[in-house]
């Protein structure tokens, strides 16, 4: 019996990585598992995928999937600029950033914001557990006000909300999911990977060791009890996508440039994924009330990506031969002429 293969003839095992060294039950491992399936089902060429991360338990996970891909496990918080440089050097890469809430919202916040501002082609997944897992459970900047650590310490600050912050920066793909909500998570991952600019997917991913207790607002129990998807999302890959139809009624259909199609069905009355300001208001209200909204909050295509704005040749800069990198002798002569008084 041969294993099932995907569109490009690879079995799902081709998308596996090394054995996880995370704590058993860690939400991040669930996200990894979803990624493996999603990459397989999407038929991503492993060598095109560039796995980018920072430092943290979450940032280790690129070691645990798609070992046929290159990975860059950068310094703490510095993944976005490294990913930016990589995709500029080779625009055919598909950069997937996996980061944590500390990596993204504490030390790396400035870079995160600037990547969003530039609309760098980058699928940015935040495995958000509200704590620094790897350094043993201090609050991160996304911890909710009033959340409690195992020892009882209470967080007194407002969180950095990755999703409303992404809306603030004009991000065209803003979503939140839950590590335990496999179906939704995988659909969102597929859509996020197909989005041309920066897509932000904030995944509540419980830290079973340091933040899965009562009083936590990132525990499995908390998430299971409260998850409230505001929309239901469907994703039709480009090789299956029908001709685009005009969105009607409760369903919004958004074609992505690669030919795939995102189908958004409202669950919550009045939630409009085209309206960033509406989403912003709704998410803030939800936070104030302790609600846990998930789904695709905002989807807007058409904004040029950072790489598009650079007006580059089609071939990856990294692969240009000497003849296209070093200008001819006449160019030097011209330059020198300009320097002759």
């Amino acid at each position: 019996m041969t294993a099932k293969v995907n569109r490009i003839g690879l079995p799902q095992d081709a998308y596996k990585g090394g054995k996880s060294t995370l704590c058993p039950g860690c939400g991040h491992d669930a996200v990894t598992a979803s990624l493996i399936r999603v990459l397989f089902e999407s038929g991503v060429e492993p060598w095109r995928l560039a796995k980018m991360s920072g430092i943290g338990c979450s940032s280790k996970t690129p070691g645990y999937f798609s070992s046929g891909s290159w990975a860059f496990n950068a310094c703490h918080g510095r993944m976005p600029p490294v990913a930016t440089g990589a995709v500029v050097a080779n625009r055919t890469l598909l950069p997937l950033g996996v980061s944590g809430d500390g990596d993204t919202a504490s030390i790396g916040l400035g870079h995160f914001v600037h990547a969003l501002r530039r609309n760098v082609p980058l699928c940015y997944v935040v495995e958000n557990n509200g704590v620094y897992g790897l350094t043993k459970g201090q609050f991160s900047a996304t911890a909710d006000r009033g959340a409690k650590l195992r020892g009882g310490e209470e967080n007194t600050f407002e969180p950095v909300d990755v999703c409303t912050l992404a809306l603030e920066l004009g991000c065209g793909f803003v979503a939140r999911s839950f590590a335990a909500d496999k179906r939704q998570l995988e659909t969102l991952l597929k859509a996020a990977l197909s989005f041309p600019g920066t897509s932000v997917l904030d995944v509540v991913s419980p830290c079973v060791t340091f933040n899965d207790h009562e009083g936590s607002t990132r525990s499995y129990a908390w998430g299971r009890e409260r998850e409230h998807p505001v929309v239901e999302v469907g994703f039709v890959p480009h090789w299956e996508a029908p001709e685009v139809e005009i969105p009607a009624g409760e369903v919004r259909e958004v074609p992505l440039p690669d030919g795939s199609l995102v189908r958004i069905r409202k669950v919550e009355e009045g939630f409009d994924t085209a309206d960033a300001a509406g989403a912003w208001r709704r998410l803030r209200e939800a936070r104030a009330r302790g609600e846990f909204l998930t789904g695709l909050f905002h989807l807007a295509t058409g904004r040029p990506t950072f790489v598009e704005g650079l007006d580059l040749v089609e071939e990856p800069l990294a692969l240009l031969p000497e003849g296209r990198l070093r200008p001819p002798r006449s160019a030097l002569e011209d330059a020198l002429d300009g320097l002759t008084p």
Binding site: W47, A50, A74, R78, P81, V87, V88, A318, R326
Partner: protein
């Protein structure tokens, strides 16, 4: 009275008053006449209003160092006039804006007041432009005084304002007015004078600043990603680079760019982008100055350890912290040598001239890709932002060295398990790498700053970890042997009693000092110019061959000497520092004086 073509001309004006064009016209006219000369801009860290100076030094032998003392002063700025006047050598000449009333303030100089305010009304009806046009009047006055060739003056002006016909007319009129006014009012001949040399000593030469030269070097080395964050004095490198790239690196067919210039949000991002690009296979570079270097530490330590190529240009400026951003120094050497915690080391190249800024920028890319490590081009403000004459830069004939990169077909040949990222296959410490995106499913690897073994796997195993860091230390030794030998100037066939070490732009003061020592003091001295770190064996040889040793450098703490002592398991005996750290480029006399003191106090 100085010999013809041997003088320092200094113009003191107000920052933002637009005197730069005027000063360049003077310099270029002189240059066109075939007189060896160079120009230094001494400017404040503000945008407008503070004192600024331009110094032109001419010397028949082409000395390029700054020289203390002024022969001809143009004093336009009330705020600095007194201080400027004090710098004029006895017998010197002063041209000043009449209201400054400098006449008679010194009896040993000839001071000429010029009614610039009145004159400018004659040529410039538009009040808005007068502040600028005034400067061209002093060009005329000074040109006449010095005996510049009027044709060359006009030609220099015309070339500078090429394409701006209206401005040219106005400026030419101003030059002419100054020229005539000087003819009518000033005594001739002037003791500070220019003579057209029998042979044009600048034939075929260019005049350029080091930042533009390094930018050109990068362009012809095929830089494809440049990420930066503005900071004085490296900003003009980015500007020049963007300009040249736009001109010479667009695809002829499509007009599309074969380069990307990325203005980052800070220096951490700038170097991160360069590293990401270098990792992905681009020729990647960033440029910055001291504060940026300090911010890049963590990432560059990563690049050292994970072996990611990139080029870092450090255009050094004065002082710790923000210091004096518009003053020059060689003060980042110790910081860069071991930048980042842990056992991290970085190679540095020390360009002394615009020509080396050009060639070494190219070398830096080859070294970075060959050795898979960040390579630092240690420029400085004096080199980067001042104008230096040079032979035209040679077109680089050597093909680009892209280093040990395995392609799809290489990987297929090696087969599964044939490629591991950090294995030392060749015994030179340099591993092989692959570029992300290489198809075939065989080349992927994991890049990390955490502990890894030669297979690129995460490891906490002491043996695997140690093996890898020892290989990197071995690579360092291979690298050392690939770096240029010092340039040694010998006074004779036997080692001279005095040995002077130096590097970068300090060169010009030292070379001039050698001749003064020999000609005026009968002291034979050898000189050793360090071109790169880690040090070539030749540096140690020079040290061993000389008893009375001096290291000339532009910092307070004797940084290069420290590095030399630290690097040498053999003791370094009797190395005296000649240190300058006031932000001005060193001059030959200071070096000479220090050596004379050293000689006297030597046992």
């Amino acid at each position: 009275m100085p010999a013809p073509n041997d003088f320092v001309l200094k113009v003191g004006t107000v920052n933002g008053s637009g005197s730069q064009t005027a000063n360049l016209v003077l310099l270029r006219a002189l240059f066109r006449m075939g007189v060896p000369c160079s120009g230094k801009n001494l400017f404040p860290s503000n945008i407008a209003g503070l004192p600024t100076w331009f110094e032109i030094r001419a010397h028949p032998r082409g000395w390029l160092a700054r020289r203390r003392g002024v022969d001809l002063l143009v004093a336009m700025n009330p705020a600095s006039a007194a201080q400027d006047l004090a710098e004029v050598l006895p017998g010197g000449v002063v041209v000043y804006d009449e209201p400054l009333a400098l006449a008679g303030r010194r009896t040993d100089v000839a001071a000429h007041g010029v009614p610039f305010g009145k004159l400018v009304l004659e040529v410039c009806p538009e009040p808005r432009l007068r502040r600028l046009v005034v400067n061209m009047i002093y060009v005329g006055v000074v040109g006449r005084l010095l005996g510049l060739d009027r044709g060359e003056l006009d030609a220099a002006l015309a070339r500078m304002l090429r394409g701006k016909e209206k401005a040219l007319g106005l400026n030419r009129a101003a030059v002419d007015l100054g020229w005539r006014w000087a003819g009518d009012h000033l005594p001739a001949p002037c003791p500070v004078a220019v003579e057209r040399p029998p042979r044009n000593l600048n034939e075929g030469r260019i005049l350029v600043d080091g930042n533009a030269a390094a930018a050109l070097g990068a362009v012809f080395a095929g830089v494809s990603v440049f990420a930066w964050y503005p900071i004085t004095p490296s900003t003009s490198l980015g500007d020049a680079l963007a300009g040249y790239l736009g001109k010479y690196r667009r695809d002829p067919a499509t007009g599309k760019a074969t380069f990307a210039v990325l203005q980052a949000e800070d220096e951490l991002a700038a170097v991160g982008m360069a590293m990401g690009a270098g990792w992905a296979g681009a020729r990647a570079m960033t440029s910055t100055s001291g504060p940026g270097i300090s911010l890049m530490g963590e990432l560059l330590g990563f690049a050292y350890y994970a072996e990611v190529p990139c080029v870092v240009v450090d255009v050094q400026r004065l002082g710790p912290s923000t210091g004096l951003p518009t003053r020059t120094a060689q003060g980042d050497i110790l910081q860069v040598a071991t930048l980042s915690h842990g056992d991290t080391r970085h190679p540095m190249l020390f360009p002394s001239s615009v020509a080396e800024a050009f060639t070494m920028a190219g070398d830096a890319f080859d070294l970075a890709e060959r050795f898979q490590t960040p390579v630092f081009l240690m420029s400085d403000l004096d080199l980067g932002m001042n104008l230096w004459p040079s032979e035209p830069f040679p077109f680089p004939e050597k093909p680009l060295d892209r280093g040990k990169v395995l392609k799809e077909e290489d990987l297929a040949r090696l087969g599964k398990g044939g490629f591991f990222r950090y294995v030392d296959r060749d015994g030179d410490g340099i591993p092989y790498r692959t570029l992300p995106g290489t198809p075939g499913g065989l080349g992927s690897y994991f890049t990390r700053g955490s502990g890894h073994d030669e297979f690129g796997r995460y490891t906490e195993d002491p043996a695997g970890y140690v093996k890898n860091v020892e290989r990197i230390a071995r690579k360092w030794e291979t690298l050392r042997s690939a770096l240029p030998a010092p340039e040694v100037i010998r006074a004779g066939t036997e080692p001279a009693p005095v040995g002077i070490l130096h590097f970068g732009t300090t060169r010009w003061a030292v070379e001039e000092a050698l001749s003064i020592l020999r000609e005026e003091h009968g002291i034979a001295a050898d000189a050793c110019r360090i071109l790169a770190y880690p040090f070539h064996d030749g540096v140690g040889e020079f040290l061993r061959a000389h008893g009375d040793l001096y290291m000339v450098e532009q910092n307070r703490d004797g940084q290069m000497a420290s590095l030399l002592r630290a690097a040498n398991p053999e003791p370094v005996v009797g190395l005296e520092g000649i240190l300058r750290y006031d932000g001005f480029p060193p001059d030959a006399r200071s070096v000479v004086d220090a050596v004379l003191v050293g000689r006297r106090s030597a046992p």
